[in-house]
Amino acid sequence: MSGDALLTVDQVVAGYTTPVVGPVSFSVQSGQVLGLGGHNGAGKSTLLRAITGMSRVFSGTIRRATGLKLCHQWQRPELPPELALLGREIYTLLGADPDRAPAVIRPLLGRPLYRFSGGQFQMLQTLACLCSPAQLVLMDEPTNNLDGRALEALSGILHDLAPERAVLLVSHEKAFLERHCSRMIEVGQ
């Protein structure tokens, strides 16, 4: 593994019943926000799922730092229609501390899920991942449905990322990637 890489993806071809993406190679270092860009259907989400073990790796290797703890924020998380769980109960599932939650999310922590909008739920899940103790956070289109305040909060957290942590950020919004990523990989070219 190169240097202090948290994750190394080497010539990976991934998909489900048939390959969808690859071969792709990159590594993610501590303190880095690595952007994954590409057109719709290029296989960016499939690549993230290959890292978490939810899609199939046809060839190539994925190496992780020993004991790496990671968290995956899903694109379009499903908001259950009737569950009365409070925002706090979701936020703390992965170990995020509600007392240190970003201001933008605090009013949502005491609210039951059935009163969340899709954008609020997306923000809750995104910040639950980012504020969890995971060293590597995989983010899949985190800007979807977010309003200006939420985007600002997300930008602030990415900007202040602790040096021992890293983010692998998938987005089709090139401006957002360029603003936050120390390096970018184009998938599907």
Partner: protein, 287 residues
């Protein structure tokens, strides 16, 4: 039957068996609803009924047949790459048709099938009570370990796999609890009343209060109140217990509609439960 029978020692064991099963079925039902798998409960209860009736011509106890069939269904279900309500619906149809077809070809088949679909709580004995109490105790002991794992899997589906945390222990424990609760419920109170107990209390309880623990408690309260009311009503009015229980649970759904109307009215008036959750800046103001 008269009201003195309510206090007869003969009915204590059936009452306590049903009470333990009610609490266990309510908790299992809440977890199934949280996972959006509540239809699986009806599928399993129908398959368990088919297994129990199939055991008769083989000379096996019904409980063994019910566990065997439900266990097989659980194994088949967990071997599928993706499980949805279509699979659960198929289980219901297979269980229902098998119960009636097998019942039509064995001695007393119709009577056994009928008792499995409607329930036979009054015939519960000490063995049933021990099983039901053991299930409830296991459920209570396992819940603090099981619940956060199931919640994490629901909201962050690949978190455990991504972090190489073994998923089979909690998945196996949950499958065993669902199977045991469904089989004991089907044998003791009947396939449809057991399904009603798995389905209705959480459907009602989840809209009465906010918060996960509070939802579980509300689910338990709805289920236990309906059970006690049904037990008393069935004895006093000399009615079959299973349909009375199912009816009592269906009546409890009125609470859900009343709560929904209250919430809607509160939102319209701007005085709502809803606004209590908002930060001061977000709260609507009256002009």
């Amino acid at each position: 039957m008269n009201d003195w029978l309510l206090f007869d020692a003969m009915f204590r064991i059936p009452f306590l068996t049903g009470l333990c099963l009610t609490a266990a079925l309510c908790l299992v039902g809440a977890l199934l609803r949280m996972r959006d798998e509540w239809l699986a409960a009806l599928g399993l209860s129908q398959v368990a009924a088919a297994g129990a009736i199939a055991a008769a011509p083989l000379g096996l106890p019904g409980l063994v047949g019910a566990f065997g069939a439900a266990g097989l269904a659980v194994i088949l279900r967990s071997s599928l790459p993706r499980v949805g309500n279509s699979h659960h619906a198929l289980m219901i149809l297979i269980g229902w048709s098998a119960t009636l077809l097998i019942g039509a070809h064995i001695d007393h088949g119709q009577r056994i099938g009928d008792s499995l679909l409607r329930g036979q709580l009054y015939f519960a004995h000490a063995g049933h009570l021990a099983g039901a109490a053991g299930l409830l105790l296991t459920m209570i002991l396992m819940l603090p370990w099981l619940s956060p794992r199931l919640l994490t899997a629901r909201f962050f589906p690949d978190y455990h796999k991504a972090n190489r945390i073994r998923v089979w222990p909690y998945q196996a424990v949950f499958a065993l609890l669902v199977m045991t609760a469904t089989v004991l419920g089907t044998i003791s109170i009947g396939a449809f009343p057991a399904f009603a107990m798995l389905f209705v209390p959480s459907w009602v309880g989840f809209v009465l209060v906010d918060g996960w623990r509070q939802s579980l408690l509300a689910t338990l309260a709805v289920g236990i109140l309906a059970y006690v009311a049904a037990f008393v009503a069935a004895m006093l009015l000399d009615l079959p217990f299973g349909p009375v229980l199912t009816g009592a649970l269906v009546l409890s759904a009125a609470l859900r509609f009343v709560t929904a109307i209250r919430r809607r009215n509160a939102e319209i008036s701007g005085d709502s439960l809803h606004t209590n959750y908002l930060a001061p800046a977000e709260r609507p103001t009256r002009s």
